[in-house]
């Protein structure tokens, strides 16, 4: 029987559904392909959209991801959750599109968003503490969009590194391998991306914007 997203709930039930679905997929049942796409496709699209920003590119990435999944499902050992495996394949497919369009090679300066220092190494303008109530606002549904938009303003390579490391929890080494850069370059770009994102969030968090 093909697993259905509404057939059960909870981690144990989901694992059972996934095991059943995997069995059908390995047997090459076309209905299982459709069931997997309907169950996980929406979430995979959301992940791809974070990396690509354009709906049509995100759909292209998810399409590539599903084809890779169906071709590799026989090799999936079940060491991780099915959703985790699909997530990583989706990120990889999105990176494939960024590479194909050479968007990771564009070096856009991020310097304007980094802190400024005087020649003696001290700050050229005072820092202030973030207001806890403003930070808490950003954790809520509607204002979370503001954080996503700020991430979207980062140059592509910095945004990609930040998402892979801080959000999707790829290791430094794996991020470097997938992006074709050295681990030290991953660390440097991540640090600059975090600083730039902090600068973009600061007006809201210090309450100095309207």
């Amino acid at each position: 029987m093909i697993a259905h997203p509404t057939s059960s709930s909870g981690p144990a039930a989901e694992a059972h559904d996934d095991a059943e679905l995997l069995g059908e997929l390995r047997a090459g049942a076309p209905a299982a392909y459709v069931a997997l796409m309907r169950k996980h496709g929406g979430r995979m699209l959301a992940v791809a959209l974070r990396y690509l920003s354009h709906e049509n590119e995100a759909q292209e990435a998810v399409q590539d991801a599903f084809v890779s999944v169906f071709r590799a499902v026989g090799d999936f050992k079940g060491d991780s959750r099915l959703a985790t495996w699909l997530h990583r394949i989706t990120v990889n497919a999105a990176l494939g599109i960024l590479r194909k369009k050479k968007r990771l090679e564009r070096e856009t300066s991020i310097d304007a968003l980094l802190p400024k220092f005087l020649p003696d190494g001290h700050r050229d303008s005072p820092e202030g503490a973030w207001a806890q109530e403003r930070v808490q606002e950003l954790e809520k549904g509607e204002t979370r969009r503001m954080v996503r938009e700020a991430i979207g303003k980062l140059p592509e390579i910095h945004r990609t590194v930040l998402m892979m490391r801080d959000i999707d929890e790829f290791s430094t080494e794996e991020t470097g391998r997938l992006l074709g850069i050295q681990p030290n370059a991953v660390k440097a770009r991540l640090h600059r991306a975090r600083q730039a994102l902090r600068t973009l969030l600061e007006p809201h968090c210090r309450g100095v914007c309207p």
């Binding site: 090459g28 076309p30 392909y33 459709v34 796409m37 309907r38 496709g41 929406g42 979430r43 995979m44 699209l45 959301a46 992940v47 974070r50 759909q59 998810v62 399409q63 599903f66 084809v67 169906f70 071709r71 026989g74 997530h87 802190p115 220092f117 003696d120 190494g121 001290h122 700050r123 005072p126 820092e127 202030g128 503490a129 973030w130 930070v135 950003l138 954790e139 979370r144 969009r145 954080v147 996503r148 991430i151 930040l162 998402m163 801080d166 959000i167 660390k187 991540l190 640090h191 975090r194 600083q195 994102l197 902090r198 969030l201 600061e202 968090c205």
Partner: protein, 85 residues
């Protein structure tokens, strides 16, 4: 240690890559520089907020996968079927 040097070490400090001596040096700077205390706090908040904003588990399940996409994948699989032993 200056504020600029402190900033250069934040990433490595938070990921536990610094030696005990380097950590001590950073903490000495934090003891005398409230601006870097605030910066470190906001840097950590930034990491946390980006995760909260984008973490799939914290959002409602996105909408259905478009039917065109499902058809395109099925067509691609039909065009080049998986060879089974």
């Amino acid at each position: 240690m200056t504020c600029r040097e402190f900033l250069d070490y934040i990433g490595a400090y938070l990921s536990g890559e610094l030696s005990e001596a380097e950590c001590r040096e950073l903490r000495v700077h934090l003891d005398v520089c409230s601006q870097c205390v605030d910066y470190l706090d906001s840097y950590q908040q930034t990491i946390r907020l980006s995760k909260i904003a984008c973490c799939a588990d914290s959002d409602p399940v996105p909408g259905d996968v478009p039917e065109d996409l499902v058809k395109a994948v099925l067509a691609a699989m039909k065009q080049r079927p998986i060879e089974r032993a």
